[in-house]
């Protein structure tokens, strides 16, 4: 075939891509430009925008709520992403074992990731309920036994003071969503429940690892751990990389679960970045700061992605 692009081809190509090209103009480029413009404006959407320069960005420097939201999101991403990645990898390895009922196990682990996030937020809100929730109902006897029979005698043996021993005797479970630290922990915990899709991707990746590699390693007398670190992980690294990128992008946009479950509280302990943008824009009609924050979010995600791609050269193997 000749290499020249005929006019017909050019037109056909553009015609087929037309929906997207129009879409990009209408729903991507134009909104991006508008959003950037608004980020330098005072704009309530009820009155025309007024240019105020860098004020919105400057205000963010002293906005404590913004700092909290930023920090919470960084913390969430930094804890949740590595943990969910590790967990899904372990689950995938487990679900890859040829046992009876494998299909059923896989389905069960996958199901929660299909549940609408609003619904899962409600389910977990109920499970984490401090008084009546199932989790504390199970923790209470465990903590009781642990405190009475193990911790308080141990503290006594170690010569702790009376008050400490007494408090260990009456351990009570956390109030979860009512406590700033535990509320964050609860939200991170929920992210573990929705790893189904990541697990499936890992499982697919595991199918593609050539079996001969394992056989050869076994011949060489390599143990399971050795095989994991020297065959499975390197061969899986492109998949790990993909899941890492998706995890980072996703965790920076967490919204549904905290919005429904805690509304950002108690205090601002579970106020996340996207929630704060939403609040500024659609609760306070402060469209300018909302757009400024959204652009900062975009830049952060872009930076993290570039960072990931740059580091990928060091650890991702493409066969």
């Amino acid at each position: 075939m000749n290499d020249r692009i005929t006019l017909r081809e050019q037109l056909a190509g553009m015609a087929f891509a037309a929906p997207y090209i129009i879409g990009v103009a209408a729903f991507l480029v134009f909104p991006l430009a508008m959003s950037l413009y608004y980020s330098f404006c005072n704009y309530s959407m009820l009155q025309p925008p007024i240019w105020i320069g860098w004020d919105n960005y400057r205000d963010l420097l002293t906005d404590h709520a913004f700092h909290t939201a930023l920090w919470n999101t960084i913390f969430y991403a930094a804890v949740s992403v590595p943990f969910t990645l590790t967990l899904s990898l372990l689950l995938a390895l487990l679900l890859n074992e040829p046992v009876r009922g494998q299909g059923l196990y896989r389905t069960i682990v996958f199901l929660p990731s299909l549940v609408p996030l609003v619904a899962s937020a409600l389910i977990w809100q109920w499970l984490f309920n401090a008084d009546k929730g199932l989790i504390n109902a199970m923790l209470r006897p465990v903590l009781h036994v642990l405190g009475q029979l193990v911790l308080s005698p141990l503290a006594g043996a170690l010569g702790a003071d009376h008050a400490t021993i007494e408090s260990l005797r009456h351990l009570s479970p956390p109030v979860w969503l009512g406590d700033p630290h535990w509320a964050m922990a609860a939200i991170i915990f929920i992210s573990f429940w929705g790893v189904g899709q990541t697990v499936v991707i890992f499982l697919a990746g595991l199918q593609d690892v050539p079996h001969e590699l394992y056989e050869a390693a076994e011949m060489d007398g390599a143990g399971a751990i050795h095989r994991l670190f020297h065959i499975t992980l390197p061969m899986l690294s492109p998949v790990i990389f993909f899941n890492l990128i998706m995890g980072v992008i996703g965790s920076w946009q967490i919204f549904d679960v905290p919005y429904v479950m805690t509304g950002g509280g108690p205090g601002r302990s579970t106020l996340f970045y996207s929630m704060y943008i939403f609040e500024a824009a659609f609760n306070q009609l402060r469209m300018g700061p909302a757009c400024a924050m959204a652009w900062i979010q975009l830049l952060i995600i872009l930076f993290l992605t570039v960072l990931a791609f740059a580091s990928a050269r060091k650890w991702v193997y493409y066969a």
Partner: protein, 461 residues
């Protein structure tokens, strides 16, 4: 062969299942409820009427009261149909939908957002009602009128008023050896009584508190009022936060948590039940005196009838005059957002709503005082609030202070609440007040600057 058979069976079963789901979905699409069917209370469909969409802020029994009036209107004539929807967070939802160009025709909003709405030009000017002599500046109690027409132009009509008063638990008074029929009349007396009404458990935790200014925490920003402060300067648009009266007020607020111990108060408050539950701290006897609105009486009737007859209500003491010399009052307001599609019809509805018998029905069902200056004796008689007369008298008082019609009030209010909470937990009173004043000044300055820019732009056109 067998395997093939079974796989064929699965395939058929699969197809049947998919077909069933598809049929179900199609049925849903065809026969499912449609948003456009409006029915009269007797079940008949409406015929050729203008549909006024109306957002009501109250759900539950308070919403039912409004629904009754709406039904009455819908059956009273044949031209207009009110489609009432109960919307949570109605202030914000209204702002957003107005910004989106598709607001409801009529809304009940909370007074604190009036200033923001007016400055955004998001409300329909209702001066025509003045010209038609439907209302005059003296139809409603002074503070309600001031909220609806803060600078002369009428932007809304009041539905119910919500002035504050002191509630006290007579059982706890008697137990503490106080005269159950004599509430405190000065702030000093209130502090002394609170101390006598406080019970500390042997382990140092609080069992019962006499008075906690931050329970409920809805009025955290308003304590200056009882010390003679006027938070808002209507002429300049600036806020009076750093004033001697405010400092005195918040020193007084802090004196309660300081006396009980900040930590102890904090853990005591975290154990309080929901407002709308029998475990409400006032109903439950954990707090002996509270500053509350008239609606609390309604919730006591519902959640803890045992308390009926065993609590009293009186004007709240002030530092500079008799009890009630200044009080905070709130108000529900009907407004027509800018861009509403049926303004004329919405005006007709409003006129119906503010008819004396309709307003009084609503006020009675919500156990609140009427915004009308002229009321009937029956309204006082029917009102389930045993202290409706106390509230009614407070509501008519020209010294009731309401929320400032400032465009930035929601933000300032937020900061004042943070300030009050920090002071409550032991932060420096003067430091916190200065900080709030500094921020509020900054916001006002910026708002003025923007207003000037806007004006310049409009003149330019």
């Amino acid at each position: 062969m067998e395997a093939q058979e079974s796989s064929r069976f699965t395939r058929v079963a699969h197809r049947v299942a998919i077909a069933l789901v598809a049929i179900g979905a199609a049925a849903m699409l065809v026969f499912g409820d449609r948003p456009t069917t409006h029915l009269l209370p007797d079940g008949r469909a409406i015929h050729k009427r203008i549909v006024v969409s109306y957002w009501e802020e109250w759900t539950g029994f308070e919403g039912r009261a409004m629904e009754h009036i709406v039904n009455k209107f819908n059956t009273s004539q044949h031209h207009i149909f009110i489609n009432m929807v109960e919307v949570s967070n109605v202030n914000i939802k209204t702002l957003i939908s107005t910004a989106g160009g598709d607001p409801p025709d009529l809304v009940t909003i909370w007074s604190g957002i009036m200033g923001q709405f007016i400055s955004y030009k998001a409300l329909t000017n209702l001066n025509i009602l003045l010209r038609q002599h439907v209302v005059t500046p003296h139809t409603f109690v002074p503070f309600a009128w001031k909220l609806c027409a803060p600078y002369g132009t009428l932007y809304g009509l009041p539905a119910t008023t919500d002035p504050n008063a002191l509630y006290w638990n007579k059982i706890l008074f008697a137990k503490a050896g106080l005269n159950p029929d004599k509430p405190p009349t000065t702030l000093k007396q209130l502090s002394r009584m609170a101390a006598r009404l406080t019970i500390i458990k042997p382990d140092g935790t609080i069992k019962q508190a006499g008075f906690l200014p931050m329970e409920p925490n809805w009025y955290a920003a308003d304590w200056g009022i009882y010390f003679g402060n006027h938070i808002y300067n209507f002429k300049t648009g600036y806020f009076n936060i750093d004033t001697p009266q405010q400092i005195a007020a918040y020193r007084w607020v802090q004196s309660f948590s300081k006396a009980l111990g900040y930590q102890e108060v904090d853990s005591f408050q975290s154990g309080f039940g929901e407002f709308n539950s029998p475990l409400n701290p006032f109903m439950d006897g954990q707090v002996a005196m509270e500053l509350q609105g008239p609606f609390l009486a309604n919730f006591i009737n519902r959640n803890n009838p045992r308390l009926i007859g065993h609590y009293g209500v009186a004007p709240f003491p002030t530092s500079f005059g008799p009890p009630g010399a200044a009080t905070f009052g709130d108000c529900d307001i009907w407004v027509i957002p800018r861009g509403a599609k049926h303004v004329q019809a919405a005006l007709e509805v409003m006129k119906f709503f503010i008819q004396q018998k309709n307003l009084e029905y609503l006020n009675d069902k919500q156990a609140k005082p009427s915004p009308l200056m002229k009321t009937s004796a029956a309204y006082i008689r029917r009102n389930p609030n045993p202290y409706i007369q106390v509230f009614d008298r407070i509501s008519r008082n020209p010294n009731v202070q309401s929320l400032p019609p400032s465009p930035i009030w929601p933000r300032v209010n937020g900061q004042l609440t943070v300030m009050a909470n920090r002071i409550w937990m032991g932060a420096s009173v003067v430091g916190q007040i200065r900080h709030a004043q500094f921020l509020a000044d900054q916001w006002v300055q910026r708002e003025n600057h923007l207003a000037a820019l806007r004006l310049k732009r409009e003149l330019h056109r």
